[in-house]
Amino acid sequence: MEIKPIAKRILAYLLTMVVYFLIHTSVFPNFQLGGIAPNVMVILVSAIGFMRGGNTALFIGMGSGILLDMFSGTYFGMYAFIYLVIGFVNSAFHQIFFGDDMKLPLFLIASSDFVYGLMIYGCIYFMRARYDFGFYLLNVMIPELVYTVLVSLLLYFPIYYLEQWLNKSDKRSERKLV
């Protein structure tokens, strides 16, 4: 029996989310550079955001956020909110995304990570009277951004090929029906 394309897609996204979450929490913290680990979940949410767009981006964003919330012990719902916004903003770029160019994906992933940093600084640190923005910019946000972009050169392609494979099998099943 053939699995329905939509079920296949959901399953594929869930599996990718699990794998990227494990990479985020258990692999890269062992390879920190100067105490900074890359933000793998931002790569996933941002990439699916501009590749697939629409409601999928929102669900992936919020799902990843909730996953992180469960394993972080800070305010439950904070990451869900941040990643939801990242997914939403990235989905707006779905219209101008064409697979053959790496410039837009890298730019979007970098900006997403920067926005993520800004949001955490603004929501948590600034509220607690940590006003030395320059320090956090140079010691947390920029290093994380650079490391994330480097890592995304590696982790972007699995998502890209997965998306292509899903689109292809979608088309195939459509043709069969017509």
């Binding site: 939509i6 699990v18 979450f21 494990l22 985020h24 929490t25 258990s26 692999v27 913290p29 062992n30 390879f31 105490g35 900074i36 680990a37 933000n39 767009g53 629409g54 409601n55 981006a57 929102l58 919020m62 956020g65 909730i66 996953l67 992180l68 919330d69 469960m70 394993f71 972080s72 012990g73 800070t74 305010y75 439950f76 719902g77 904070m78 990451y79 869900a80 909110f81 939801l84 916004v85 939403f88 989905s91 940093g117 955490i120 600084y121 948590i124 640190y125 607690r128 940590r130 030395d132 320090f135 956090y136 010691n139 947390v140 994380e144 459509e174 029906l177």
Partner: protein, 288 residues
């Protein structure tokens, strides 16, 4: 005919709905301490086994790169360690004498202190922080092993942090160097109370944590004095070593002092920790 497969919910509308859900979750967790509920249990069985395995491999790789020390380095290290052993042995003898004296005096005073007699359970760190902004990590022991929220975590002789979330077989720990953490502590020698709070900026720059609100009227506290958790803390058990004072200065109000503490725990290479299976008795009953 296959039009029904097309999603017709507008993205903007869904975004607003989901944002509202996020804020509701935030409010719920703020009011009731909700942290996932049933989803947490599901996540527990999916992620914890895989995180354990991955971390085992990751640790293996880091350890094997660490092995590469030259012979000269080893000889030098051996020499300095031998010297240290001698020094420590003398110290230990002195301490034993003092300990015996202490025990005798305690018997006299009928003070059965239970420092160091806490029941503990060992745990592995299986996942480190979800972000560079927070210093939290996940351990592989949960409610199945008797771990509860607000239990203290130690490593070696020092305080590591406190459990903030717990699932069936995992627990999330917030370490004392986290920017959000603050511990009610006291100076061991003088029993003066103070607050020890983590600071990301201080930690990145000099590997230290902040000490504030120390009332040291007689100017007795010196650099190098041990700082332990205080007996008036509501969540930390008394007498756990946090670190040593490394710098101290008077505040502008001329009443209190602040400074920095060097923590005793090496937070960068934390792999095994101990969970103290005892909650601080605060005199409050549940449901207060």
């Amino acid at each position: 005919m296959r039009q029904r497969n097309k999603m017709t919910i507008p993205t903007g509308g869904l975004f607003l709905v989901l944002i509202t859900i996020c804020f509701m979750l935030l409010a719920l967790s703020y009011v009731t301490g909700f942290s996932g509920g049933p989803v947490q249990t599901v996540a527990n069985y999916i992620f914890v086994p895989m995180q354990k395995g991955l971390n085992f491999i990751g640790t293996g790789i880091t350890e094997s790169t660490k092995d590469a020390k030259t012979k000269e380095e080893l000889i030098a290290e051996n020499e300095s360690l031998t010297a240290q052993v001698e020094e420590l042995t003398t110290q230990l003898t002195n301490m034993q004498l003092q300990q015996e004296e202490l025990e005798r005096l305690e018997e006299l005073h009928d003070l059965a202190t239970d420092y160091g007699n806490y029941k503990t359970v060992g745990a592995h760190v299986i996942a480190k922080g979800t972000s560079n902004w927070f210093n939290t990590f996940t351990i592989d022991k949960g409610t199945n092993d008797g771990v509860q929220v607000d239990m203290n975590i130690i490593s070696g002789s020092g305080l590591v942090g406190i459990v903030t979330e717990v699932g069936p077989s995992y627990a999330v720990v917030r370490s004392v160097i986290d920017d959000n953490s603050s511990v009610s502590a006291m100076i061991l020698a003088t029993s003066d109370n103070c607050i020890v709070s983590g600071d990301l900026e201080l930690m990145t720059n000099s590997n230290m944590i902040e000490l504030t609100d120390l009332e040291d009227v007689d100017n007795e506290v010196e650099v190098g004095t041990a700082v332990v958790t205080s007996n008036i803390s509501s969540r930390f058990l008394p007498g756990i070593l946090v670190g040593y004072v490394s710098e101290l200065h008077e505040d502008a109000n001329n009443l209190t002092k602040s400074g920095t503490i060097t923590p005793v725990v090496d937070f960068k290479h934390l792999q095994e920790v101990l969970v103290i299976l005892e909650l601080k008795e605060t005199g409050k009953t549940d449901g207060d």
